[in-house]
């Protein structure tokens, strides 16, 4: 399978990428690791007329301790997140979740920024950044702005990024000694989650993100509210699917996904020490 024809541009800086986005508008797509976009292009589900390759912007690949949070360059690969000592210590949930993305080959190429900007509700990292209450930094022609993770995912494969904006950084708060857990249910090792759960509880933080439980990555807000009012892990998990609209596909009915959400959230909360 071969993608439809497109024009290939390689950006040698973030500003050059933004200039190319401004020039080509909606017809252009940014290419980072390509492991979400290229499969869609091969199936001709995506047919951008211009691809702007930002994969070589190594200055957007970093994991920095920024005091109360960790700043991660958008082009940091899953492999680098999975093996980061800084993240293992400060935000272990993110490092662990990154080790569940795809398989080693995919993690050698795929990037956190690419995964978030793709906005796929079945991807692992969006739910993690949601649960952590992360912040995303976008740069456009008129400068930089920050977007709360909760405002970023707007629809199926749709984000708050404007067509001329480049996601440059992801900021995730340090979780200290808070309990955390990442649960992923799938049938084959490298598959997307049928349902996944990212949870962090403790140190004044309560975040539970759900993978593949709606048209966007979502928080289990009923569970979070129950925890805030002192519910047990099993009582809080019992309401995990409330307010969600899980999809139906070959792997699972919505009802099965709701069941999985309740079971996986309970396991996650127990692992968090709730």
């Amino acid at each position: 399978m071969i993608p439809a024809q497109f024009e290939y541009e390689r950006a040698d800086s973030a500003d050059a990428a933004i200039a190319l986005l401004t020039q080509h508008g909606d017809d252009a797509k940014l290419l980072a690791g390509g492991h979400s976009l290229l499969p869609l292009m091969k199936l001709r589900l995506a047919t951008p007329s211009v691809l702007i390759d930002v994969g070589r912007l190594r200055d957007l690949s970093y994991i920095n301790d920024a005091g109360d949070h960790i700043a991660i360059g958008a082009l940091t690969r899953h492999r680098d997140i999975e093996t980061s000592d800084v993240l293992a210590k400060e935000v272990p949930l993110l490092a662990r979740a990154a080790s569940f993305v795809g398989d080693p080959q995919v993690r050698h190429r795929g990037t956190i920024g690419g995964s978030l900007a793709h906005g796929d509700p079945a991807s692992d990292l969006p739910a993690v950044v949601l649960a952590l209450g992360g912040t995303l930094v976008a740069r456009g022609p008129s400068g930089e702005r920050t977007i709360a993770a909760g405002d970023f995912f707007q629809g199926f494969l749709e984000t708050a990024l404007a067509p001329d904006e480049l996601l440059t950084e992801i900021r995730v708060p340090k979780t200290g000694s808070a309990g955390w857990s990442f649960q992923k249910f799938n049938r084959r090792a490298m598959d997307w989650a049928i349902v996944g759960v990212a949870a962090v509880v403790g140190n004044g933080t309560t975040g539970v993100g759900l993978v593949n439980m709606g048209s966007t990555p979502v928080r289990a807000s009923a569970t979070e509210a129950a925890l805030a009012s002192g519910a047990s892990a099993s009582d809080a998990a019992a309401v995990a699917a409330e307010g969600t609209e899980p999809p139906a596909d070959l792997n699972a009915t919505p009802e099965f996904r709701e069941h999985l959400a309740r079971v996986l959230v309970r396991r996650a909360l127990e692992e968090c020490g709730v």
Partner: protein
């Protein structure tokens, strides 16, 4: 890009996939196309020393990179230790997944030089074999890593 130590240059369409480039322009057909959807790992090769599924990378993205394919492993007629280990442990039946398995295994050992059996199984999660049930493949990778209790040490190729 450099392929198996040889610099080469071709003009290609932007949409040319790396695996197509390797097979059709470079003429190296040892890298197989399996599922073509980045699931099966048959097209795995090394880009700057790391395993990558070449059906999900554009040739243009590999511009300037150092590529190693299955053809680049044997030196002077002597198999790479991983190839030798696959041979000695009968880690293949039909052979279709084998080039990808070997390349993924080399990348795996580079990152985890002394993996446990479980780590080998997890490390090869991106490669599907429909014949062997994986047991001999896992044995071969452990043998290549110098794992204990294997019948072969696979250390003959230096």
């Amino acid at each position: 890009m450099t392929v198996n130590g040889t610099k080469q240059e071709h003009d290609v369409e932007p949409r040319t996939l790396l695996v197509q480039y390797i097979r059709q322009e470079a003429g190296l057909t040892g890298t197989n196309i399996g599922c073509d959807t980045s699931s099966c790992g048959a097209c795995t090769l090394l880009v700057d020393g790391e395993s990558v599924k070449s059906c999900t990378m554009l040739a243009a993205q590999a511009d300037g990179a150092d590529i190693t394919t299955i053809e680049g492993l044997a030196k002077d007629g002597v198999m790479h230790p991983m190839q030798q280990a696959f041979h000695e442990n009968h880690a293949l039946q039909c052979g279709y997944c084998t080039p990808g398995m070997v390349m993924a295994s080399i990348s795996l050992l580079k990152e985890h030089p002394n993996p446990s059996e479980a780590e080998v199984r997890e490390g090869l999660e991106g490669n599907l074999c429909r014949c062997t049930g994986y047991h001999n493949i896992v044995k071969a990778v452990l043998a290549a890593a110098g794992g204990a209790g294997q019948k072969s040490t696979a250390g003959s190729a230096s």
